[in-house]
Structure formats: C-alpha cells, structure tokens
Symmetry: C2
Subunit: 700 residues, 2 copies
C-alpha cells in the first residue's frame, strides 16, 4: 500500500528532491559531463551517490566522457584520473580523507574538479558537492579545501546482541545478528552512506557493557559481513572487548593482564579477528566501571590492561580505546574527581596505539556539564572525546534538543593547559600536545525506527556530531542551518525560525531539568523524568541527593576548597574562576557551590526565585517552540510536521512535569513561596514520587 | 536519501501500482463517477481507500456525484446512501460486516454497487472491489455476496510491554508504548488497513504470558489510543488478563475466583477498561499453563476462572476467550491428552460469553499435527481455533513456508463428531453445534520490520490466515494466487511457478524437520534449529526424547491402546484409523505409533530409509524453490527478488542442517547405513550438538 506517511524521515539530510527551476538550470548547465573513472568500490559508491543526487536534485544525468568538451565535473584522485593528475590542486597538504573542490578550465570549458589523495576523500568531496547544491550555494568560483584534524570520527553503538540498545530511544539495534552474515539488510548501506556524508569513518558495533560472545567466531563472521558493507564508505569496524573474555569464552582461569596465557589468548584472538576483518579498527573497552571486569580485579592498572590489548592488535595496525569513565563507590571522594585522579598518574604509561576516551564532563552526559578536567591534563596520552548523541538524560527522543550548541560549548571551552587558548577542541585535534592519534566519539542515537533517530530533529544531532568531529571549529548554528536546508527546506521563512528554535532548545532543557548547574536529578535506572528525591539504594553516587545536597540553608555541591575541591583539577585560572562564587559562570553555580536560598543571583532575584524563574522559562520556551512550529506548517510535508508537533506537545507536558516536580520537591527545603505570578505545581510531591515507568525504553 | 531498496515490501498486498493500459481503460471506463456519502469515520476510511486504490491502479479519480449520469460506483449502506436503499440487493441474509457487489443499471448507466448493512461491511466491500482490480478479474457481471460465518477473526500479538515479542521474528512490537497515547505512529493506521482488507476484526495487543501492568490506568489509556485508530477499520481491541492481577496491581491477598473481593475487583476493573475503550472486546487468558497463574492455584476449575471474568465483562458486551493450551508436568500422562481431559468435563459449564480457544493440534504448533481432539468434543462450548502465523517451530522468518496449505488441511479435517462431514471448519463456524459465538485466532507474525512479517513471503501467511478466518472453506491455492497477483505480478509466467512453489513449501519443511509424524525435535528454549537429542531439564515433556522415543528397535510415540491411548480422544472412526498401523495416514505414522526401523512403508522403503529419503527430499525441494525463484528475476523488482533469494539460501543451509543433524542423531539408534546415493551428514553429531544460539530472536 502507499504508506499512510509518505515522508517519514528515512532519507535524512540526503534528501535529493528537485530544486527550484532557476537553481536547477544553473547547476545543470555546469554539470553536463562527467569524467570519473571508478577502479575501486569506493569510487563506484561515490559515482552512484553523485548520479543519485544529480538525478534527484536536477533530473540530470551528466554524460560520461573521457575528455571534457562542455561544462563538466572531473572527479577522482591523481592515481585514478589522469585529468586530475595534471593540475596542482593543493592536495599535498591534506590529511587522509581530505579533499578539494576547485574551479578550473579544461579544454576551454568551465570545470568543477573534486579531488583527493585517497578514494574516501573523493567520496567525501562528492557528498560535499551535493551539499552545496542541496543548500543552494553558488558554484561560480567554488574553492573548497577540507582536511580533518581528527583522525577517528566514531559512532559508539551501545547495542546488545539481543538487539536491545542500552539508552536507545529509536527502536532496536540496526544489526540483525540472527540473519547475519547471510542476509545484508539494504539499510546497512544507507547507514554507511549517511555516515560517510558527514565524515564519520569508524563505528563501534557493540555496547561498552560488553558481551564476550561477540568475540566468538560465529559473531566475528557476522561483524565481518557488516565491515564488508561499510568498507567502500570508508568506515572501519571496532568492537568492544569484555576484559574477562579469556575466562568466559577462552576457558582460562584468569584474565590478569600480567598472565602470559592471557596475553597469548588476546594475541591469538586479535589474529583471529583480523582474519575475519583485515582492516579491523580495534577495541573499545570499559573496564572496572559500573560492574564491568577490568585489570584492577587483578591489582593491575588501567595502563596494564590497555597495553596488553594494544600489544595484541599492534601487529595488525589496531587501536585500543580505553574509557576514562571509571568511578568506584568504595571511594568516599566526589565522583566527579575520580577519573582524573585515576588517569593523570598514568600519563605517559600507555602504548602509542592507545587512546583514552573521556566523556565531555566528569559526571555523565548531564544536560549541561563543565568540560572534563582531564582535557589538557594528559599531555603524553592522546585523549578522545566521548559525546552522547542519544538523549539518555535529556528526555529521550521526543524532546527537541539540538545538541550541536552544547557540543560547541564544550569544544570551545578553554582548558588553559598549558596556556590560554588551549581549547578542548585543540586538545582533541592534537595541536596542543602533538598527539599522534586523535579521535572524537559519539554514542549513537540510531535504531530501527524508520526515521533512524526516533525523531526528525534527533537527526540534527547525528549530523552536527559528525560535522563537528570532522571539524571541531565549525559553528553549530551554521550546521543547524545546513541541516535544516538539506532536510526540510531552503526557504528563509522556514530556515530562520527553525534554526532559532534549535539554537535555544538546549538552554530550554537545561532550564526545565537542571538549571544553574544542578545535575543528576533524573528518575532512577531508566533516567526518564524528574527524580530529585532519589536516595538510598546500593550506592550514594547513584542518588540525586548526593548531587544537589539541598538543605534548609541552600542547595548545590561544594566543589571548592571548603568542599570536595574538585575545582583544583582544573588549570589554576579555570579553578580560580569556578571556585569563586562571584566569578563562576552562573550556569555552573550549583555544580561548584553550595549556595544559600536567599543568595542574590545576577538577575537580582534570590536563588530560590531564580530557580523557579528558570524552571518556568524552560517550559515557556518549549511553548514558544510549539507556536513557532505550528506557524511553519506551509513549509513542510504534513507527515513530518505532524510528528514534530506531536513530540513538541509531549515535550511541553514533560517539561512542565520536570518543573512542577522539581519545584514541589525543592520547596520542602527552601520553605519559601513561589515568586508572584508563578503557578504552583499541578500535583502534590507525593504524586510525582508515585509515578513509575517499568518499561521505559533504553533500560534493560 | 532515496532508500537503497525502493521496494521493501511495506505496501503488502495493497500495492496499488498502475495496471496494464488495456485493463486500466476497461476499469476506468466503469468507474467514472462515485456516489458515496461518508457520514461516519468508517465510510471516510472506505472512501479514502477507494480513491487511493483507483488513483494508484488506474490513475483515476472518479467524479463525486449525487446522481449517476455515466458509468459509476455507488457505495454505502441503505442508511447512508439513498441510491442503495432503492434496490433489493440481497442484504437481508448477510451476517454482520458482510457485503455485496452487484451490477445494476441506474439512470440507464452501468453501475457497480458496493453495499452492506453496516459501515464496516462497506469498507470490506471496497477492499474486495480493489482486489478484483488488482487481480485483473472481469467487472462485467460482477455479482459477489460475502458473509462470514466466523464472527471474531483475530490476531493474537504475543507482544510484551518492553516491545520484545515472544516468538516474534519480524523485529519488535509495533506498539510504541512509551510514546503512546500522545503519539500515534502512522503505521498503526496501515496495520488497521491491512487487517481490514482481509476481514480481521479483532486484535489482542498483548502476550498471553501476561503482564498485570497492562491493566493499570496509564496503559489502558495507551491501549485506548490504539483502539481509537483501529475503530474506523472495524477492529476491536482485546487484552490479555493476568489472572493474578488482583494481587499484583490490586493489592488483594488472593486471586481466588470464588472470593467476593476478587470478583468485585474484576468487575470494577472491567468497568474501568470500558471507560477507556467503550467497544473493548474482552480478555484473552492463558491460565495454569507453563507457569502462568490461574484458578487451579485456588482449587477452582478453568470454568470457575473464566466465568468470573465473563461476569465482569458481561454488562458491557465483552467476551472472555480462555485458552485450552494447558498441561501439567506433574501429570504423568501423555501431554497430548491433557487439554482434552481437562476441558471436556467442563463442557456446558461456561458462561455464554466465553469461548475456549484451542490450538490446531494437541502439542504446540508443530510443522504438522493432526487436528486437536477437542474439536467436536465440546458441543455446548463455543470453540475458537488458534493457529500460529509466526513460525516458532518452522525456522523463523527466513524459511519460505506457506501456511495456508496447512491451515486448509486442518480446517478440512473431519472430526466425525457427531457424524462424517463434521469438519473442523464446520465445528468452528458453529454449524455443527449451533455455537452462538465463533472465532478464529492467529498468533501474529508482525513486527517493526519494514516488510511487517520479517520476510516477503511471510506476508502470505498473514493474508491467508485472514482470508480463511473470513471463510474457512476457501482454497489455500486460490489464496496463494490472489496474494501473488496483488503483491508481485499478474503475469502467469510468474504466478504459476510461484504458487506451485508456495504449495509445496509446507511439505518441504515437514520433510526436512519432522517427517512421518515426528514432532517437537527443535533446539531447547529458542526453538531454532534441530535438537532431537534434547533431554533432561526441568520437565520431560520439554525434551525431544519424550516425543520421538527412538531406541534400538524403532521410533515414534505409541498413542494407541498399547501406549498412551491418545487416539481414544478422537471420534471412533478417526480413532480406528489413526490407531491402526496399516490405516494411519503416513504423515502421522510416528505421531501415533512406535514403528520398527525395518517397517515397510508405502513407498516400499523400510522406515529408516524412508526417513532419510524424506529428510533429503525436503532439502531438495528447497533447492528447487531456489532454482525457480532465480528464474523469476525478470518479473520482480531487484530489491524483493534479492531478499527472497538470500532467505532461500539461508533456508537451504538450515534445511540441510536439520537433515544432517537429524540423520546423524537417529542413526545412533537405527545403526543402519544410509541408503545408496544419499550423502552422509556433513559434520559429526557432536558438532551439531555443540551449536549454541543464546540470542536467537523471539526468546526472552
């Protein structure tokens, strides 16, 4: 049947719909011929994409020629295309997978050249060229040089072998393990195309809470089948390694990294993996964290564990990515300090094919966190960024929150290590510490939902993540605009208000969930909805009261000298600012300080009133977003308009739930009335506490 | 992006693609005008469907008129459409939701009238009319009268609240409980359209292994949102009731059906459900079976339990469907006998709004089973059929097995109760025992997979189930042809070989899995792949050795007088046939008899050789199917052709696995060589026994 919803978002930003006639004619006139030999699967994929795009956007199929005799596209590498070898196009300085797009006359004809040193660069150049057309940019004197400073631009899938996805809100895992390796869902190809179009070149297929079965031969064969699909698109497959695998599937009695039998087991296992997947990327490891096994089980350090695996994959060119997200509940200290304390002493002790992957903040993907103090603090150890694209702590898929703005905030934060200007982005791209390896990872928000990400606007977070991983200096606002133009419409009457809505959406969710530096206040386990009252249970740092510390006097976590002194983990100028109640950015006020209820904030309101004000502002912003979207119906297909509108309605309801529940709870400490004009919570605190969500998605 | 696979099977059999020009002109000439008032949501849905179909098939939009002045369609009920009220169309004798399609001149114009007594009948008539066009049947003197003898034509979804599906091989549950009731996925509408198109008018949303949370207000609100979507399509929502719900969510200390507090709780709960869903269908209950709670926990009978629930829903017109699939491992007797022994004594003791739902056979949806001895044995209790559409025991979605042929075999089986000619179909439609209520249920094979059913050809089983539930006398071969024509192509060069392939597919799977009446030989727990060696564990009747009873002498379950005497549960003529080694149909030979390895079968081969022959024939048939399909590439889009070909390859591999593993295992008893020319198993028995599938789908 013709589906009830013709536009369902499956096409993502690669929506090659016909351009307006004037634009179409201009572009079509410039692309009448094509010189593009295709001696490799990647170049075939690039050509297929180009033809698909030109056919969709321009209803044009350029004539394949060997010599240019009309306005043309000339595409390839100096090796694959003799026409390209003859020009000095500035390819020398490009990093791997970089590309140029240049305007050059050939045989007296205006020609656009898309060139790179390697085939994947050509593919990327083709996607960039199509983006130029999709966003209706001038082709006239096109002169683009693109070269990423980040080598590994990765998705981390927290996908389990039963196809559930930890913290996944877009259906279930794309990987249909049961039918692999024999059946290759066409969607795997579309996944690879989408990632390649934004420069993502690595994917970790499996959950960091790892399953040793993944490393058995039947599953390696399945992973190899996926790797074969992804390879032409420049995407390398990584897997998570369960540290105790030698015991669980190897029949050994120990997984001690100092044990020669264990070392030998991993060497043999690595050799086996590379037999299945010759360009296997390597292992991502979560060890000694939240119940996962690790080297500390045997009295060894994280470096000991990482190095053993690094030695195993080294002969094959593999990489080990070791997560810094570790904390022990036995340690009485502030959880925010533990990764730093654990890893800084290990700086310089890792093999050269190890990266340490650090979450953007020291707690865990909260709506807003200050940048992680590890960034800048390990000059001898390449640090990778771990962002979360999936919205574990941000209301799941139905809350419209554009994370590009937050990624940019973190990437541009100044670590002051070793000096001012050493932004997180510059730590990551290696320019500060001369890292030989660089990487940015994002925890994927992709699943079997037809729209891939659980919501139309969630696609923007995947998009922005990939583009920022390629170039961390990009503006999130520009990326939002690119995405809106490609995904919905180039009409400025649509683009402008939608970009504005996206750009304020992150502040909105911070307002209605965790204003002024509050954090970790969500429902227990599933992380859905407000739970500032969460206390008790197996460990203090899995409660909310551990973090907000509200009492009759005030609220907030004192991380200054008088408290946990977590501020001291930052460079002195940053520590001085964060540690000073007068100078700390108000967005981090309660992250670093325990502040009296009647403390006068910058607005002139006392803290309690300011909290209420911000909670309410968050809800109001969502209502504004709803109004904006309602007015934009003429510019977007009914199907996607309806879905977004329905989700905004859910977001408004849940924003109000967060506001009302939080105010009801904190008022039991502040004992203060709401400021005049602010509505009281709709229900009693007991009501909010009584709500249960045993089947919230993403929690298994 | 344009999906890599343009044809993905989402459209099912409602694939309204342009007809060949000559057909199109003929139909278009007959449908130039439309008289169809739409005073109800159902009639709006019918008209939308008609226009969608005519637009797709004929590129035609008939002119909406009030009075016919050219060849026209006139559609509606006598109430909604005055033009219809004037004719005697034979509506009087129709059952609910029946319809007619007649040719009548109006104002001198050739007119096709689609009419019914109720709006859902009109919708059904529209779907039938579109099917006539899709399958390119002549319109000339169209004269159709359709009236179902089965009142409830139901899907049973074994869907859990976390969206996993027990025995589901098509992804996960369609019901996105987290986003309900606020977001209504457009797919819910397409689900309703597909079901209405084949006459399915009831759906049980939740697993028979039930969860009491479903009966709490938040979930009832979600179910109500689905019911609102389905209502215009004539589909009523049922839910499974967990018998212990009064304890689990009601705070009571007991769920004893004789307890007045429990009775009161269910009455109040029923009232609450009907407040949410005014046309709620009722409860489906699995009780005292495989660990589910039930009335026997309190020393009460199944009738006591069913009647308590029946009393609760009776004031609202609700029905209770009580499953007869019960067996106790404490009972030492043959599992095949237990449902009969349990339920026959209860005949006449159920309230008049109770149906007892009986699986097609006495074990559990095996590749082939003789009909359940309960059919015909409960003249005072309406019995419903439970077929399985999902292929729990049939290799999951990737095995092409057309179940229509097997449904027909069961429906046409003669119970001889009270006399010859009392087929299972006539028991079900009430004509034998004058049942006041009639129902046929199918365990759904539908999930989030884009193609709905996990495989293109699985759609045929959904289709055939629905059509046979509407009319159990239909020919499964005719239905296969209808489905092929609607889903793929009307070209006889395609239709004929594909229908032939479908019609032999069920015999093939029986051959390579469980020939000659063998049964219950699959892998433990997940039911994937062969496991004839399965023994031990918590209960004997969950092993394979319990059923095949192979020993040095022979193989098979003696269910004659010398054994469990299960044959005695059938009517005497049937019992005499099944119980006689010479007269038993060979397809049930080892179901009823323990037979020596050297027993001479009808082919002249001894039993062991015949077993090997049939296992091998099954594999060979799959290879033939592959060859047939390869040759049909010109008639079908590349995407669906590729998927089917890939799955047939998997089926061949797994058919061979079944054959080889079964032969390797049974040979340890028969101690005989394979007949000449038959290849030995590829691997050792130990190899087959060593295979593990911890993440096989459908098993949670």
């Amino acid at each position: 049947m013709q589906p009830a919803a013709a536009e369902d978002g499956y096409e993502l930003w690669l929506r090659y719909r016909p351009l307006p006639a004037d634009q179409r004619d201009r572009y079509a006139g410039a692309t009448t011929q094509l010189v593009m030999p295709t001696p490799s699967p990647t170049l075939v994929a690039a050509k297929d994409e180009l033809l698909r795009g030109l056919n969709g956007l321009l209803s044009q199929q350029p004539a394949a020629v060997e010599s240019v005799s009309a306005p043309a596209l000339v595409i390839g590498t100096p090796q694959s295309n003799a026409q390209i070898a003859q020009f000095d196009l500035g390819l020398k300085g490009l990093a791997a997978q970089g590309y140029v797009i240049r305007h050059r006359p050939i045989n007296g004809q205006a020609t656009v050249i898309i060139a790179a040193n390697d085939d994947v660069g050509v593919l990327y150049g083709v996607f960039h060229f199509l983006r130029v057309l999709q966003t209706q940019q001038p082709l006239g004197n096109i002169n683009i040089t693109e070269s990423s400073r980040i080598q590994l631009r990765m998705l981390n899938h927290w996908d389990n072998l039963d196809r559930t996805v930890e913290r996944g809100y877009a259906g279930f895992s794309l990987w249909d393990w049961h039918k692999l390796p024999d059946y290759l869902d066409p969607r795997y190809t579309d996944y690879a195309r989408a990632n390649a179009s934004i420069g993502i070149n690595a994917t970790v297929l499996t959950n960091v809470n790892a399953n040793a079965t993944m490393l058995t031969a039947p599953y390696l064969e399945k992973a190899a089948a996926l790797a074969n699909v992804f390879r032409p698109y420049g995407i390398r497959v990584f897997l998570t390694a369960r540290f105790s695998a030698p015991v669980e599937i190897g029949g050994l009695k120990t997984a001690d990294p100092a044990d020669p039998g264990v070392q030998q087991w991993w060497k043999a296992k690595a050799a086996e993996v590379y037999k299945f997947i010759p360009d296997f990327g390597g292992f991502l490891v979560k060890a000694n964290s939240e119940g996962q096994p690790g080297p500390q089980d045997y009295g060894r350090t994280h470096a000991d564990g990482a190095n053993m695996l690094a030695d195993a994959v080294k002969p094959f060119g593999g990489t080990v990515i070791w997560r810094a997200f570790v904390y022990s509940h036995e340690q009485p200290d502030d959880r925010a300090k533990q990764a730093y304390d654990e890893f800084v002493p290990l700086d310089g002790k890792f093999r050269d094919n190890v990266l340490v992957q650090v979450k953007n903040g020291a707690i865990d993907f909260q709506p807003r966190e200050p940048f992680h103090p590890l960034f800048g603090a390990m000059p001898k150890t390449p640090l990778a960024m771990e962002f979360q694209i999936t919205k574990e702590y941000l209301g799941f898929a139905t809350h419209l929150v554009y994370l590009g703005a937050f990624y940019e905030e973190v990437l541009r934060a100044d670590t002051y290590r070793p000096r001012q200007g050493s932004t997180v982005a510059k730590i990551l791209d290696g320019s500060v510490h001369n890292y030989a390896r660089t990487a940015i990872a994002g925890v994927a928000n992709i699943g079997t939902d037809r729209n891939w990400s659980g919501a139309q606007f969630e696609q923007a977070n995947w998009y922005a993540f990939g583009r920022l991983a390629w170039n961390p200096m990009l503006s999130s606002k520009d990326l939002a605009e690119e995405w809106v133009r490609m995904t919905f419409s180039n009409d400025p009457q649509f683009v402008k208000p939608v970009v504005a809505m996206m750009m304020k959406s992150h502040e909105a969710v911070v307002d209605y969930m965790t204003p002024l530096g509050l954090h970790h206040l969500m429902g227990r386990g599933h992380h859905y909805g407000p739970g500032p009252w969460v206390e008790g249970g197996p460990r203090a740092d899995w409660t909310s009261v551990y973090y907000h510390r509200a009492d009759a006097n005030g609220i907030g976590f004192d991380r200054t000298k008088t408290g946990s002194n977590a501020v001291a983990q930052y460079a002195p100028p940053v520590a001085a600012q964060f540690g000073d109640l007068k100078r700390v950015p108000e967005q981090f006020l309660l992250w670093f300080h325990h502040v009296p209820w009647d403390y006068r904030t910058k607005s002139g309101r006392i803290l309690w009133d300011e909290l209420v004000y911000r909670y309410t502002r968050g809800v109001d912003t969502v209502r504004e977003m709803e109004g904006t979207w309602q007015g934009l119906a003429p510019f977007v297909d009914a199907e996607r308009h309806h879905e977004v509108a329905a989700f905004l309605k859910i977001q408004e309801k849940e924003a109000k739930w967060w506001r009302d529940a939080s105010i009801a709870y904190f008022q039991t400490f502040s004992k203060r009335p709401l400021p005049a004009g602010f509505a009281p919570p709709e229900h009693s605190l007991d009501y909010y506490k009584s709500l249960e969500f045993p089947y919230a998605p993403g929690h298994h």
